[in-house]
């Protein structure tokens, strides 16, 4: 525990580069969200919630046809149906778990109090859980979609905060604090 700041150069490099590369991936995530999704609870609810037809049930719809502008059909829509949400959960939850585990390993190696470590580890794993609870909640209970969307965003904010905390502590303890870094370099 707490040996990363005093570890060999290559160990500190590996931890730091992992964090920086993860940050780069996250920046592209920002770009992707801007292109295809939303930064608001309403947007999350709209992206993963049931559509208007599904929400109100097609059985209640009047028989017949309503005029449509065929050009509007070309507008890209990125609605996520249940099958895609299942697939994304299957793909992303393991990746989030692995990411949280790597962050936890770095947390173990930083000079922190036991309580701080416990808090960071819990937050690292709880944040993606909140994310997917929010996404599934918005999908299953679209009437309260904004609330569930807010839960998903809260999960994302926590993920960002944990990441920045670990990155900041790593940079500070491994590279910026002369008394702590590179004890093994000598």
């Amino acid at each position: 525990m707490g040996k990363l700041p005093g570890s060999a150069l290559e160990v500190r490099l590996a931890a730091t580069l992992f964090l920086l590369l993860l940050g780069l991936a996250n920046l592209f995530g920002v770009w992707e969200v801007r292109n295809f999704a939303s930064f608001t609870p309403e947007g999350v609810a709209s992206a993963v919630g049931a559509s208007g037809h599904e929400r109100h049930g097609m059985s209640g719809a009047a028989a017949g046809e309503k005029p449509v502008d065929v050009e509007t059909l070309n507008e890209p829509k990125h609605h996520i149906d249940r099958e895609l949400l299942v697939q994304d959960s299957h793909v992303h939850i393991p990746v989030y778990a692995i990411t949280a585990a790597f962050l936890a390993l770095i947390v173990f190696a930083l000079r922190l109090t036991s309580g701080s470590r416990v808090a960071l580890v819990l937050l690292a794993f709880a944040a993606p859980l909140l994310d997917f609870v929010g996404l599934w909640g918005a999908h299953l209970w679209s009437e309260s979609g904004r609330l569930w969307g807010a839960v998903a965003i809260l999960g994302g904010v926590l993920m960002g905060l944990v990441y920045l905390a670990v990155l900041g502590l790593t940079l500070k303890q491994c590279w910026l604090s002369n008394s702590e870094k590179g004890e093994a370099d000598a």
């Binding site: 037809h53 599904e54 097609m58 994310d131």
Partner: protein, 185 residues
């Protein structure tokens, strides 16, 4: 400090949302497919789907279409004569949903079919099944005949392409069931 918090929020939101923003590759835009499939139509309508029709599809296919994954558009001439209809639906597959569009003539015969959207991973297996954006080998099939996956690009032999030929053929058969139910409802 404020910039740091804003960055953290943006980063966090991105992390939270990137899980559900996996965009499909659009192979054919829906509006373009409708216009190309029903060239004589000047008016277009979205057709609603009543409960009996939905039950009929469930009875025939074992699948219950919803407004979320199924759309029916009808094309008519200026005078109102039916030119044809187009059914769009999503088929589940090993690698996520595949968007399928099928255009029908007034009697329910398949005019053409296409894959509108597909994930980036199965794209390499699905693209060989298309000719000029259209699924080869399905046009002219009458409503009473189920599409044969073997007719879809038979020269393409890869196992995963053949798997997707089956997925597409089943999707087209679901579209046929929707079209039949829609006509009779």
């Amino acid at each position: 400090m404020r910039k740091g918090i804003l960055f953290a929020v943006a980063l966090g939101v991105a992390l939270a949302l990137k899980a559900h923003v996996t965009p499909n590759v659009v192979l054919m835009r829906r509006g373009d497919f409708v216009k190309a499939s029903l060239p004589g139509a000047t008016k277009f309508f979205e057709k609603t789907f009543q409960a009996p029709a939905r039950a009929a599809v469930r009875s025939e296919t074992g699948w219950t279409p919803s407004g979320d994954d199924t759309k029916i558009y009808v094309g008519r001439e200026e005078g109102g004569r039916l030119v044809g209809s187009v059914v769009f639906l999503w088929m589940p597959s090993q690698h996520g949903p595949v968007g399928i569009g099928v255009a029908f003539g007034p009697a329910g015969t398949i005019l053409r079919a296409t894959v509108t959207d597909v994930g980036s991973e199965p794209l390499v297996w699905v693209r060989p099944l298309l000719r000029d954006g259209v699924i080869a080998g399905l046009d002219g099939i009458s409503p009473s005949v189920s599409p044969d996956p073997g007719r879809i690009a038979p020269e393409t032999s890869g196992a995963m392409s053949r798997y997707y030929a089956k997925v597409i053929a089943e999707g087209v058969s679901w579209a046929q069931a929707i079209e039949k139910a829609s006509i009779t409802s």
